[in-house]
């Protein structure tokens, strides 16, 4: 291209640069500003020291977020592998089926789990009657040995940490499947053939070729599930109970009901730093371009 046209093609990026500075960088500065000031605008560390009270909430959020991410990975990897190795038409249909639920409002999909997990819902009652039956049989068997089980206690699904993790896995699973599928699909098949020619069995091919080559997809999926999980507030409000208040819930309260923007900002600031540290660590495992696969 000529000199003039390259200059022009660089200049048309200007609106975006201005936009990005005002609406991406400045707002982050705003979070920092509110985090370190009080209502009068004076500099203070008091918001930051107040965060110490929420250490347990932070830890719980990270723990449940990690759990959801690992479970998603375990569910998603085999599926992504199967899809990537299917015929072209089957691939298209299955990928559409994975994307389709994302078009249904996320709040309603989560709300719908409340119906499924409810104490007098179909799933809980079936689970309870089946396990009570098994419990009874076990008890009778043990009885002949002169021992006895504790009385049967009904299972609760809703308002537990398990339900919150389930909600996270359910909502963010597609974000784990997509990047892993993409990398497996783009993988150089001749490498696999070469490995087979050199005498690798199926498992060795999988372990030595497929897994290392799909690592960037796994890393990308890991962050795409972990970040929304760790910061969620809707899922924990709907599917969780009193013991599942997450950091997102606390931040939401500060902004929507408690009107303590400064505390809310300092919590967000810490959350943001934590997540950027996680991302930086994850990127060490990823390819050197540092590009996100979507």
């Amino acid at each position: 291209m000529g000199k003039k046209s390259t200059l022009l093609s660089r200049l048309i990026g200007a609106p975006y640069i201005v936009w990005a500075v005002i609406f991406i960088l400045v707002p982050i500065g705003m979070v920092a500003y509110y985090a370190f000031t009080d209502v009068t605008g004076a500099f203070t560390f008091s918001n930051m020291s107040e965060i110490a009270k929420y250490t347990d909430t932070f830890l719980l959020s990270i723990w449940l977020g990690l759990l959801a991410t690992v479970i998603s990975l375990i569910i998603a990897y085999p599926l992504a592998y199967i899809i990537a190795n299917s015929g072209e038409n089957r691939q298209k249909i299955m990928m559409m089926l994975i994307m389709l639920p994302m078009w249904m409002n996320f709040l309603l999909r989560t709300y719908s789990w409340m119906t499924i997990l409810e104490d007098n819902g179909f799933l809980t009652t079936t689970l309870n009657s089946v396990s009570e039956e098994i419990w009874g049989i076990l008890n009778e068997a043990l009885h002949s040995f002169g021992k006895e089980l504790k009385p049967f206690e009904p299972i609760h699904l809703i308002n537990t940490r398990g339900a919150v993790v389930l909600g996270m896995v359910y909502n963010f699973l597609p974000y784990m499947i997509l990047p892993i599928y993409t990398v497996i699909l783009k993988m150089d098949r001749s490498l696999i053939e070469a490995a087979q020619d050199l005498g690798c069995n199926k498992f060795q091919v999988f372990k030595n070729i497929t897994v290392p080559l799909s690592l960037p997809g796994v890393v990308s999926g890991f962050t795409m599930v972990f970040v929304p999980s760790v910061s969620t507030f809707y899922i924990s409000q709907k599917l969780g109970g009193t013991g599942t208040t997450l950091i997102g819930d606390i931040i939401e309260t500060q902004f929507q009901t408690a009107n303590n923007f400064h505390l809310g900002a300092s919590l967000s600031f810490v959350l943001m730093i934590l997540i950027f540290i996680c991302l930086a660590v994850m990127n060490k495992f990823s390819d050197e371009d540092g590009e996100v696969i979507i």
Partner: protein, 277 residues
């Protein structure tokens, strides 16, 4: 052809069962004769009628579509221009800084993006001594901001694949740089632009968390309306509405798939004809 193992047949069915279970429940209860979203009392279409009578929900639906269309168009135009510029930046640090900034809204949790923009809007309105700035404009600005990275990252790879020699050739043959852009470069990156546009639109329609913090009371979108309804008890009319949206999307997807399949077939046939001639 390899023989498929039993696992690779059953496993997808299990996962899809998991993904679709709540959706099936949701669709089922949209036909509930009763008011509950937990106990099915018989088949009825009353909630579908109810949806069209609920003016607040219809208003929210209208807002959602307007914000999605406006923000998707703005972000696609600005994002495409940005991608072209980024692709041409020679200063390495500047290019890297731009790309890193672009990644921020994608990496940051939505809640942080939402509150950071809310704080900016609140701060600016406080500077001018105004209140109630949160509304349609702030909502659109926020949506454009979180859509932009997706547009840019959809267009950039396509730009990298385009052959610069082609646009040079076009210019040697007498095209102005602008003509060569519209005739040579644009058609090549069009698939990226379109998928960016689609993604921007989808993200906008589906967004709840960011909208929740930057929209005022006057500019409720559908997800925000649903949120305020799920705070109390949800009546099945919400389920009816989302079933309708779900069906509309399904039909659109099937139609677009058929069209692409047909056009691919055509190309294939034309290609084989040319090859034969």
């Amino acid at each position: 052809m390899k023989k498929k193992s039993l696992f690779s047949k059953i496993y997808p069915i299990l996962v899809f069962g998991f993904l679709y279970a709540p959706i099936a429940v949701l669709i089922l209860f949209s036909f509930n004769a009763g008011k509950s979203t937990a106990i099915f009392e018989g088949f009825s279409l009353r909630w579908y009628e109810e949806v069209f009578r609920d003016t607040a929900t219809l208003e929210a639906f209208k807002n959602t579509v307007i914000v999605a269309v406006v923000s998707a168009i703005i972000s696609t135009v600005m994002g495409t221009a940005a991608a072209i510029a980024i692709n041409n930046y020679k200063l390495k640090w500047f290019k890297q800084a731009t790309l890193t900034t672009t990644n921020i809204p994608m990496m940051n949790p939505d809640i942080v993006t939402g509150i950071s923009m809310m704080l900016l809007f609140v701060f600016i309105s406080a500077l001018f001594g105004k209140t109630g700035t949160l509304g349609f404009t702030t909502l659109t600005i926020a949506h454009v901001t979180f859509e932009l990275p997706y547009v840019i990252l959809n267009v950039l790879p396509k730009l990298r694949q385009t052959d610069i020699h082609l646009s040079e050739a076009a210019q040697d043959l007498g095209c102005t740089p602008i003509q060569s852009f519209f005739k040579v470069v644009l058609p090549q990156i069009m698939p990226g632009i379109l998928s960016g546009l689609m993604m921007a639109f989808t993200l906008s329609v589906d967004d709840f968390i960011i909208s929740y913090f930057v929209s005022g009371t006057t500019s409720q979108t559908l997800p925000i309306r649903i949120f305020s309804m799920t705070k109390k008890r949800v009546t099945p009319d919400m389920y009816a509405l989302s079933t309708l949206i779900f069906l509309a999307i399904l039909v659109l997807l099937v139609i677009s798939n058929i069209i692409t399949a047909k056009s691919e077939n055509k190309k294939h046939k034309q290609g084989s004809k040319k090859g034969g001639a």
